[in-house]
Symmetry: C2
Subunit: 109 residues, 2 copies
Amino acid sequence: MAIQRYGMAVRLKDEKRQYYIDNHANVWPEVLEELKKINVQNYSIFLKEDFMFGYLEYTGNDFDGDMGKMQQIPIVDKWTKLMIDCFNPFPNNDDNESWVMMDQIFFME
Amino acid sequence: MAIQRYGMAVRLKDEKRQYYIDNHANVWPEVLEELKKINVQNYSIFLKEDFMFGYLEYTGNDFDGDMGKMQQIPIVDKWTKLMIDCFNPFPNNDDNESWVMMDQIFFME
């Protein structure tokens, strides 16, 4: 499949900042294995002030379906809940407790 | 050279939003050529609300030097000034008129 590029954004709670950084320096191997199984690759997270930006590439053909399947794995769900607890909503997105998807407005190969 | 991944962030002025989007759907070819010459690849820009995130990969060995050289090319400098005029500073970075570089805190190949 062709590579699809996803950008996503969220904010980090001050009191959880170091916890989030430390955990992402050493992500649970089971979580990484599941990400690879659903065709996620070249995944980076960047931080500036309390803003985070995630970039990943997906080579499957059902991104939402694959993400949903991944969350049904108990250890992945446990990880995700711990991480969501570190987040503040993105501006103007108070009803979204986790990453918000961004629009790709430019690409150069 | 190994791939180095850069994340950067800035905000977009409301009154320049459509101008920026339109121009990035059709970037001046000279600007893209110069980016490729200095070993930039896989460059995406994402937008959500008035926040933008840029992601690019660099395979050279002097990122700041290469970026500086690129800006000495008159048409690139002209483009850059037009785009900087579209920006609002990133939160807590009022003294920075353009993109601020972010810290990469996670990577999965």
